[in-house]
Structures are given as C-alpha cells and as structure tokens.
Amino acid sequence: MTPAVEVLDLVKRYPKSSSNAVDNLSFEVHPGEVFGLLGPNGAGKTTTVGILTTRVTLTAGTARIGGVSVGSDPVAARRKVAVVPQQVNLDRSLNARQNLIFHAAYHGVPRTERRRLADELLDRMGLTDKAKARIDDLSGGQAQRLMIARALIHRPEVLFLDEPSTGLDPQARLFVHDRVSGLRSEGVTVVLTTHDMDEAEKLSDRVGIVDHGRMLTLDTPEKLIKSLPGSGTIDATVHPNGFTPDGLTDVLAAVQGVEQVEPVGTVPSQTGEDPGLRMRLYVADEPAALLGPVAAALHERQVTVNDLSLGSATLEDVFIDLTGRELR
C-alpha cells in the first residue's frame, strides 16, 4: 500500500542560514494513521509540515504525499493535503462562512455542495452563530476551529495540524481532540505536531521525536515509554537535611534497582524551613518493591521523607531523556 506520507533523506536549509532546519529526515505515515511529530522549539516540525504542504521548497531528498512528489508535482500534492497552520492565516476580507465557501471553490467543490458543507462544518465546529462574523472578531480558539473546518471542507487525504491546541482552553482542546479521533475513525490520515506530550500520547498511533531536524526515535507511545532505561518511577519529596541535590542523587542511585535519578524541582515548605526537594527515580522492575529500600536509605541519613509515590514513565520522560533539559 502506498504510504500516505513518505519522507526520505529530507534536507531543508533556509537561505542565509548556516545550518539545516531539517537534516536528513526520514519517516513514513501509513494511511489512516494519526502520526505525532514531537520536538522542542526550532526542531524543524513546522518546516517539515511546510515542505509536505508545498509551502516550503526542499533542499534535498524526497517527500511524497500518497505517492505524489511535492517537489516535482506540487499542484497534484496540494489537492491531497490540508493544513491547519500554527498561526492564523484566515482571509480577513471574508467572513467566517465565506472563508469556508471560497476555500472549497478554490478546490473545485461544486457550488451547492460547498454551501451545504460549510454550514455542516460550522455546526460541527460549534461556530454556527459565528457564521457571519468577521475574522478579526473571532477569539483565538474560534479562529483555530474555523481553520480546522476550512481544512476539512475539501476532503483531504492527509490533514496536517501544526500545534492544533496551543492557546486553547480545556473545553476547546478536548473538542479538537474529539475531532481528531473522529477523523481517525473516518480514515483520514492525520499528522500533528505538538509539544503537549499528553496530547501526543492520547491521540497518536505512532510518534516521531525530532530535534535539530533529525529523527531521534519513532514508535508507538507505549513502546517508546517501555524503551526508557527505567519504565517505572518513584517520586520522592524530601527535606534534604544538608544534602545537596547532587549528594542526594548519589545516595538514591546507590540503591539496588534504581537506574537513574533526576531532581525534578523544589517544593516550598509550609513551615518556613528549607524548601523540599522532589526527586524522580527511574527503576527497572516493579517500583513498589523498591519503596522500602529507598525509604530506608533516606532514613539512614536522617533525610525526612514527606512523600513517596509511584508512577510510570510518560512520553514526557522519553522526550526529556532524548532531547535534554536545556531551553531552545
């Protein structure tokens, strides 16, 4: 079966830039799949989406949508894709409903059908009472939903969502999530980029993590989490009792069965003493079995334990493990 999206050794270097924004990227998205593209700021996600939607020219490599090369036949590729961009790019000279209708006209949807589809999509996106609103009068979330409606009106084979829920309130975010799940069950291929790990984990069949334009890893969220050095975690909140975070890390790492220790933050104390420290321990086996040894090791050094809780690793742990902690 032809992959819905096929990216092979893709390179993009912007003019006047000294490094590649996308650097030898390769991946495939299967038809009907929801594919999450994760990565820190500046990783090259938007650039990749830009190339696949023919907005950005590629420097080297190949990119195909449903077997059509975006480089050599961009017009045919544009008939297959739709994109909800990171920034609002609605047509401000038109009202909400007209934005949908004209977009459908550009894509050759017959006249009567585009009216019907526009009204239906406005309804589905909860925008019926905003049909005649000017674009400038829409809230950020409403504009986002309108862009999703616009992307769907010409029935694309592949839908690209570039950070679909940034800036949305929880209701709108859930709404967008429901829509994505709905599209999946309709068989539309969805590629979404996001920084929101919960969102990626919840929506995606597979995720690829990119950084500096390269694919670091690609798998289902479950497999990625399992692949972490420790897949179970213990969160310990303690009063350091004179220990530095590094010192405590050493103490905890010495406990048999703990694979990795990371300070994850401080907790302000209510009583005005030293602030508490929160440490995350990654463990190989069943984390519950290690609660005792960990508590004992801390007790031995007179470190007061405020809280010990079990957790399992999340996609965020995978992400941080692969891309590091520093800001971009």
């Binding site: 912007y14 830009g50 939607t53 023919t54 907005r55 950005v56 020219t57 480089g71 050599s72 036949d73 961009p74 017009v75 045919a76 544009r78 008939r79 894709v81 994109v83 961009p85 920034q87 609002v88 790019n89 609605l90 047509d91 401000r92 000279s93 038109l94 934005n99 004209f102 977009h103 006209a105 550009y106 894509h107 050759g108 616009r150």
Partner: protein, 276 residues
C-alpha cells in the same frame, strides 16, 4: 528551479488534462474571490480611483485654463493623458498594494497559495485583476471628462487604437505593480509611494506631449523609460493625431515589451516571496 509548469512528460495525458482543468477552476475561483471582495467595497474603490485624476483634470484643465494661465487647447491634451494615467497607475497600485499586505504578517494569501494551481498563476491572477481595475478606472474617466470639459474634439476613428493602448497600459501597470509589490517588504510601503509612484506620475507624458520635449532632451530620455509614456502617447496620437506624438507601433511594441519584462520579473519575485 521551476515549480510553475505542469510536468507533461512525467504524467500521462489525461492526468495532465485533469490537473489543468482543476487549475483553471481554481484560477477562476481565486479571481472570483477578488471580484467579490471589490464588489463589497465599491465606494472606496471609486474614491481611490477617481479623486486624484479628477482633481488634476479640474485644476489643470479647467481652473488654470479659465484663469488664463494655460493655453486654450491644453485641457484637450491633458484629457487623454489622464485616462492613460488612470489605466496604468490604478492597475499598478491595485496590484502592488494588496500584495504587500498579503505577504505581510498576516499571510492571508496562503490559502490561495495552497489551492491546486501553479503559484505563478496566482501571481498572474493578481496582475490580471489589478489590470482589470485599472481598465475600469480608465473607462470611468470618459464620462467624467466629458462633463467637466464640456466639449472634446477627438478623432473618433482612433478609438479602437486608444482602447488597445488602455488595455496594454493596464496590463503594463499590473505587471509593474506585481514586480514592485512582491519586491517591497511591508515595512517599506511608505517609501514605495514617495520613491516609485510620484516619479512615475510625472515622467509618464500624461501632462505633456513627449514628442515636443526636444528642448529638454535629458527629460525626454528619462520619460522614455516609463511605460506610462507609451500609453499616454499612444492614446494622444490616436485621439488627437494633429498633436505631435510618437509612432503608434513604437507604443505598442514598447508596452508589449514592458509587459513581458515586468511580468517575468514580477512572477520571479512573487515565487520567491511565496515559497520559503
């Protein structure tokens, strides 16, 4: 690298026809969008198009004439020039100005760049639509001039050629507008008017017959670089053949050349702006 043409050798004949048909449909829809938007803002379009030339015609053709500062025939010389000016300049402004905005922060044009037609066609649409507005603006000058000047003495058999000059002049204005609009970054838009439009207005032979500039040779040469000169001279030559003027074939050739040159340049710049 050309991304504009449909790749005929790679695809089968029927696929190419299908792509071309959908591109034509998209082109018509994109043009329809511009017509629709203009229709809604008709009053502001008319104001933008008519205030300036009507004021020029009134002051130079009517007021100065009645006060005796210009020769009696001057209004007659000015009128065809004003029509030419409107065709060229309105086309230029109506192509370049929206384009600068389209490519600014809001990137509203993106929806059309992602429509299933070659991006160069979007550029052509912008230019064609600007030219259309220029043509309408030029046509509107006829009744206004008639009313304002009272009587005009035209060689009516020159009307078809004058119409040809108007069409070519609008197209030339559209292509220059495409070039300027795609080349000027949004934050330079003020400079564009001062540095580009004003010189074009006054070196375009619309207020004076170019052929009589012998005494001001350098200025005559300068004017020859302005496509508007050929529109003005062509129209004046057709409608007022007794006024010294440039040969008609020179005007037509120069305008076709200008359309070709600025059209190609404009599309190049447009592609560069449209694609990262």
């Amino acid at each position: 690298m050309s991304r504009t043409a449909t790749n005929g050798s790679a695809a089968s004949g029927s696929a190419v026809r299908g792509t071309t048909a959908s591109s034509v449909r998209a082109f018509v829809a994109v043009l329809g969008r511009d017509v629709f938007v203009t229709g809604r803002e008709l009053p502001s379009f008319l104001a933008q198009v008519l205030v300036q030339p009507v004021a020029l015609l009134f002051i130079f053709g009517k007021v100065l004439g009645q006060l005796g500062y210009t020769q009696p025939g001057y209004a007659q010389i000015l009128f065809p020039g004003m029509i030419a000016l409107n065709a060229f300049l309105v086309a230029l402004q109506n192509t370049s100005f929206p384009l600068v905005l389209d490519f600014s922060y809001s990137r509203e044009i993106e929806d059309r760049l992602l429509a299933p037609l070659p991006i160069s066609w979007v550029a052509v649409e912008k230019m064609l639509f600007g030219a259309l507005r220029g043509l309408v603006a030029a046509l509107l000058m006829f009744p206004i001039g008639l009313v304002m000047l009272g009587e005009i003495h035209w060689n009516l058999s020159g009307l078809p050629f004058a119409a040809l000059c108007m069409v070519l002049g609008s197209l030339a204005g559209g292509t220059v507008g495409l070039t300027v609009g795609a080349a000027v970054p949004p934050r330079r838009i003020n400079i564009m008017f001062a540095v580009i439009l004003a010189p074009l207005i006054f070196t375009g032979a619309s207020q004076f017959p170019w052929a009589q500039l012998d005494g001001l040779r350098w200025f005559q040469i300068l004017c020859a670089f302005n496509p508007l000169t050929y529109v003005s001279e062509g129209m004046r030559g057709a409608l007022l053949p007794w006024v010294p003027h440039m040969a008609p074939w020179v005007c037509v050739l120069a305008l076709i050349g200008a359309c070709g040159l600025f059209g190609a340049l404009g599309i190049r710049f447009f592609l560069r702006r449209a694609l990262d």
